[in-house]
Symmetry: C2
């Protein structure tokens, strides 16, 4: 991998003894100058202490550093959990010499166990010492739980004749060993834009990326996506067009990470893009795609490479939106399986079975009642998923 | 099993060649005199032809016979499917000498394949000839798909000094081999009550039985529960108390069938009753119980006998109702696992693991924000579930 840098940012990742196997489990991002910041968090009402703390701190729209640990989610840990999250941020602020309220913290791992915050405090001097402009790959490694590879993507853009960089790291969601299947993503850019513009761009990009993937439908208590912009490239996003370009690059980067997360989920053999079109509104299209993407019967059929279109129609039928079964058309890639709610017969089934033998394919359902569409990325449901999640804590 | 009879009703079940293995696949219920009737159907918008036909016919509140086949769901079969459903009912009406619009029909099995209605027509004379007062067990057998045992329950009640009987047969829902995991249930009683009273009793009983079980959350295109009352016992349900008694017996019978269906689902090793209490309304309690009961992470933990309470709290947190995580108490049977949102520690975990080793247990979540409660019966999610559903059609 070519060296990845983003002007004015340093990062690092080291082992701090939170993971039993000695793997890196503590990561840090630091901006040498003040940075604008935005973040989105899990919508689960049961939220880990670091999420509660960051929700408050991000209101300022400023952030200098993010400290993140894997191996322990610091969730369902009561008031002690909040004290530990604050202690984590205080330790990072002291070691870096920045304001404590400009430090965000994140945790992922087993829930319900006290965070060994003393291990984090003890490791911080070494972590700060390791901070380096090319530290992103080590950061990406430190936030892994059972991801099989660190996930890091970059994009380059231009504004006002100056180049800027976006660097994003993420760890996996759902269907994977971590107890709560937390999804974490941290994005740095050396472009210059306001906290309000950052917030708009981030919400839009998350909506078309991380909010459009499904592994098992269980929303984590710790999910968080944070974005910092320090302007050190000198590329100022001054016009609407600049902002649109930036948002497009960010969407593209987060979509790549989202796909990577699904593909890398343990127990995943197939990824399927569910495309629902011909809906009366994007929301209705989304609801149908979401229901299909979460159906265990659909997902087990994908695992079995079975072009079982009846299950897809049945999932659509219970999505809670009005639709006319006799208008439904269904395709597996380019193979039409259903026309007007009726199956296209054995020849189509045979072709569709070949489509399902691929590692990735698209399922398109046309409701034929409007012009809106939505896409959702999902995966198969395998016996490995069950084994992994049945035996996680034992 | 003692002989089961319900005055004035005859039933039968025989092989008609719809199932490849030659098992019974055609069943008939017949009332010797006019009967009041009520039915509830799947809420899936994709509905099989027999469901569409019965929805219309049940409006009359009268029914003389129900003809049901397994081996083919007659769903997603277009206009031909409706013609076939009508032909099924016409054949039964002719063979029995009753009005065609007083015959209900039901189908279960693979969807998207034309119903071989000629086999049903050919078998009808033999089926009618087999009709007998003690034919319920053979009916129960004929509607089976991968249920491992026929499901038949009875209840006895009294009204106005006369005894009456309720007989109910059912076949399994979800998580089992049939493509669409159809749930069918047919109930006969020789009590006398109006179609309106029947409808009230049936809706109430279904709401606390079949609507409170989850196997995989996939709602079938063919689900149907039908109830006939012919009054032949002379027991007339004249008072509110009589009606309440009847409804109680019906609830009890359908709850027994619902539990049986879950327990007998293929791939099921554990059944868990999810009890959510301390909610502000029954609807909110139901939504939380429903979300927990459908969570793949919770269900795989049950399979693994892992007292993974964090997953249960996380499921509650995404149920879409307001709740305070710091008020949550959680119990596995009588073992308290969580108090005020915080885990009760290793000793409780050890005790809870012993609870989960049982074949059946109760999970109680107290929201501590009201007085309403709801129960939901669910099961574990096993590798067998995946294998069965991955390889159903191949």
């Amino acid at each position: 991998m070519a060296t990845v840098e983003c002007l004015g940012f340093k990062s690092a990742g080291i082992p701090a003894g939170l993971k039993k196997n000695g793997d890196p489990d503590l990561g840090l991002i630091y901006s040498a100058s003040p940075a604008a910041a935005a973040a989105v968090f899990t919508r689960n009402l049961v939220q880990a202490a670091p999420v509660l703390l960051c929700r408050e701190r991000i209101q300022s729209g400023r952030c200098r550093a993010i400290l993140v640990n894997s191996g322990n989610a610091n969730c369902c840990t009561g008031q002690q959990g909040m004290r530990d999250a604050v202690a984590m941020s205080a330790a990072a602020a002291a070691a870096l010499g920045v304001d404590e309220d400009q430090v965000l913290v994140a945790s992922t791992g087993v829930i319900g166990q006290p965070l060994p915050v003393e291990k984090i405090e003890a490791a911080l001097p070494a972590l700060v010492q390791k901070l380096a402009p090319d530290g992103f790959p080590r950061l990406a490694q430190a936030i892994m739980t059972t991801d099989t590879e660190p996930k890091l993507v970059t994009r380059r853009g231009t504004a006002g004749g100056r180049h800027y960089t976006i660097v994003a790291v993420a760890k996996g969601a759902g269907m994977i060993r971590p107890d709560m299947a937390t999804m974490l993503c941290f994005v740095c850019t050396d472009a210059e834009l306001s906290a309000a513009a950052l917030d708009r761009a981030l919400r839009r990009a998350v909506d078309v990326s991380f909010n459009r993937i499904s592994i098992d439908g269980d929303t984590s208590t710790n999910d968080m996506v944070a974005l910092m912009a320090n302007g050190r490239s000198g590329a100022r996003l001054a016009t609407r067009e600049d902002e649109r370009d930036f948002t497009g690059l960010l969407e593209d980067a987060l979509r790549e990470l989202a796909r990577w997360i699904v593909r890398d989920g343990e127990g995943v053999n197939k990824t399927a893009e569910i495309c629902v079109q011909g809906a009366r509104s994007t929301d209705e299209a989304y609801r149908v795609a979401d229901t299909i993407a979460h159906s265990p019967l659909v997902k087990t059929a994908f695992f079995g490479q079975d072009a079982n279109w009846g299950r897809i129609l049945a999932a659509a039928g219970r999505a809670g939106i009005p639709l006319d079964p006799e208008r439904l058309d269904l395709y597996f890639d380019d193979v039409q399986m259903v026309a007007g709610g009726v199956g296209c017969g054995p020849a189509a089934e045979a072709q569709a079975t070949a489509v399902l033998k691929q590692a990735a394919f698209t399922v398109t359902l046309d409701l034929n009642q409007g012009a809106a569409a939505a896409r959702f990325l999902t995966c198969d449901f395998s016996p490995d998923y069950v084994h992994i999640n049945a035996n996680y804590r034992t």
